[in-house]
Amino acid sequence: MTRELEDDLHRLLTRAADRAPRAPSGFPARIVTRSRRRRARGRGVLAAAAVVLVVGGIGVTVRDGAGPDTARHPAPSPVPTTSPVPTTTASARPALVERVWPEAVWKIPVKLPGGRKGRPQIFLGDRTLLLETWESHEKADALYAYDLETGEARRITAIRTPKGVFASGYAVGAGRIVWQTIEGGHTRFWSAPVEGGDPVAVATDREVRGRGDELTVVGGRIAFSLLEGGVFTLPLGGGSVEAVPGADRHHILRWPWVGTPGEYTPDGETSFEELLNAETGETSRAVVRPGERDVRCGVTTCTGTSPEGRPFSRLRDGSGERDLPDSTYGLAADRFMTVRLPPPSGGQVLLDLATGRAADLGFRTDAEGRSIHVQPGIGDGRLVSFELDGQYVVIDLARIR
C-alpha cells in the first residue's frame, strides 16, 4: 500500500513536470538584466542600460546598422532551401572567417590615436565605419569615421548627454548620422553631418512618448519604431511625426518591412509573426505550427524548435524546412547565424544559411572559462564586430555573396 502510493507519487510528479511552462527566448539575457538592475538598485544607482546585448565577457558589439544606400544591403537569401546546413559544425571546426570570406573581414586597432577605444557601430559606406568613444560604460561622448582601407580615423562630432541618458540606434542617410536618446519615457532624435559638425536636435511637433527601439533613414525622413509598438516617420530636418497606417503595434524589422510582435517577446510568442510593408501595404503572416517554440522570423526566413525539440529553419510560408545545429543565435539578413562550439575550447562559427558555408570566428573560451558571444541582429545586422587579441574583428555581411 505504502509502496504503491510512493510509486504513484513518483509517476505523477514526473508526468506533471511535462506541464511546466517553458523558458521564453531571451530568458538568459533577461535574468542577467534583472540581476544587474537589482545590483544597481542595491547600490542606490539608477540602472540605465540603453541597449541590452546578449552577454559579453570581453566585449560584444552586434548592432543593426542602416547603410547610406539600402540597395547595398544584403539581399534576403533568395531560396535558402537548396544548400545543406552543416550540422557537423559542432564537431568539425571550419576555417577562420578571414580565410573563408576574406573580402568581408577587417581587423582594426581597438584604440584610436590618443589611446581611446573606438567601438564599431554601423557602416557609413562600403569602406567606412562609424566608431563611438565612451565617457563611461555605454555612454558615448564622440563619433568617428574610420576608413577601413587607409586606417585613418576622422572625428565627426562630440556627443553630450545627461547622466543616465545614452545615444543609441545610429543610422545614416542623406549625408547625416542620426541617433536617439531616451529620457523619462520619451525619445528624442539628433543628427550630425557625416562630414563633421555639431549635432542638432531633430525638432518634432509633439513629444515622442515611448522608447525608441529601431531607427533608420529613408529618403529624407527618419523612420523609427517604439519598444511599446508603433512605427512613425518624421522629416530629417524636423517637423511633424506621422504614424505609419496599420502599424500601431509594429516594430521596424528591415525597412520597409515592419512587424508584430517585435524581436522581444516576453511570453515566447513568435518574433515578427505578422509583417507589413510600410510602403505598399502588403502583409505576410508566418506559418507556425502547434507546439513549436522560440520561433523567430525575418523578412523571408524563420527559425525555431519543433515540438520534438529539433531546431529548424524554413521560409515564412512554412516551406523548405531544414534542420539546424543546436545552439544557434541570431538571424541577420535572413541568412546569417552564429553557432556555439562545444566546450572545452568553445568559440562560435558564423553560418550562412543561403550557401551552407560556415567560418570560425576565431575566439575560444579562456583558461578561466570566459568567452565572448556574438549574435547577429535579426534585422539588417550588416555589421558584426567583436574584440579579439587587441583588435576589432569587423565583418561586413553585405560583402558575403
Binding site: R11, A17, P266
Partner: protein, 165 residues
C-alpha cells in the same frame, strides 16, 4: 560579469529543467516561473563563487526548494514566464486518479509537499533532503510520513465519496 556568457549558456541549457522542477515543487506555472527566475537571479549574483566550488544546477535547485518553503513567495510581484498554450498539455493531461492525487498534494502544507517532491521527484535521500532544507533528519522523516498519510486519507476519502454518490 566576465562570466555572463557561461551563465547564459547554463540558463539556456537548464532553464526548462528548472521550470519543471519549479512546477512540481509549487504545483502551478506562475510560481514555477517565479521560483526559477528568482533562483537564477541569485545564482547570477553568486556565479563566480558557485562555478568554482559547486555544481550550479544543484545550487539553483537548493535555492528553489528553500525559497519555496520560505515566506518569499508571498511577496513576489515580478512575473517573467507564463504558462504555455493549452496545446502543449494535451498529451500529458492527468487521468482522474492522478488528478485526485495532484489535488491532494496541492492541499498539503508546503513543507510536507517539498519533502515529498525532493524524495519522489528528485529522489534524494532523507539526509540529502535535510541538508538542502537545513532541517534535521528527524524533521524530514516526520514531514514525509505526515504528508504521505494525509495523501492516503484524502484519496481514500475522495474515492469513498465518489463511489457513494
Amino acid at each position: 560579469m566576465e562570466d555572463d556568457s557561461r551563465f547564459a549558456e547554463f540558463v539556456a541549457e537548464r532553464a526548462d529543467a528548472l521550470l519543471r522542477y519549479g512546477y512540481v515543487l509549487s504545483g502551478n506555472a506562475h510560481d514555477a516561473a517565479d521560483l526559477t527566475q528568482e533562483a537564477l537571479i541569485r545564482l547570477h549574483r553568486a556565479w563566480a563563487r558557485v562555478r568554482r566550488k559547486d555544481d550550479p544546477e544543484s545550487y539553483t535547485r537548493m535555492i528553489m526548494a528553500r525559497l519555496h518553503i520560505s515566506a518569499w513567495r508571498r511577496r513576489r510581484r515580478e512575473r517573467l514566464v507564463r504558462d504555455l498554450p493549452e496545446t502543449s498539455h494535451l498529451d500529458t493531461r492527468p487521468s482522474d486518479g492522478e488528478q485526485g492525487l495532484w489535488q491532494a498534494l496541492a492541499e498539503l502544507p508546503r513543507r510536507q509537499r517539498t519533502v515529498l517532491v525532493l524524495r519522489y521527484y528528485e529522489q534524494l535521500t532523507d539526509s540529502e533532503i535535510a541538508s538542502v532544507l537545513r532541517i534535521s533528519h528527524g524533521t524530514v522523516r516526520s514531514h514525509a510520513s505526515l504528508g504521505l498519510s494525509r495523501l492516503r486519507s484524502t484519496i481514500a476519502h475522495r474515492t469513498f465519496t465518489q463511489r457513494s454518490v
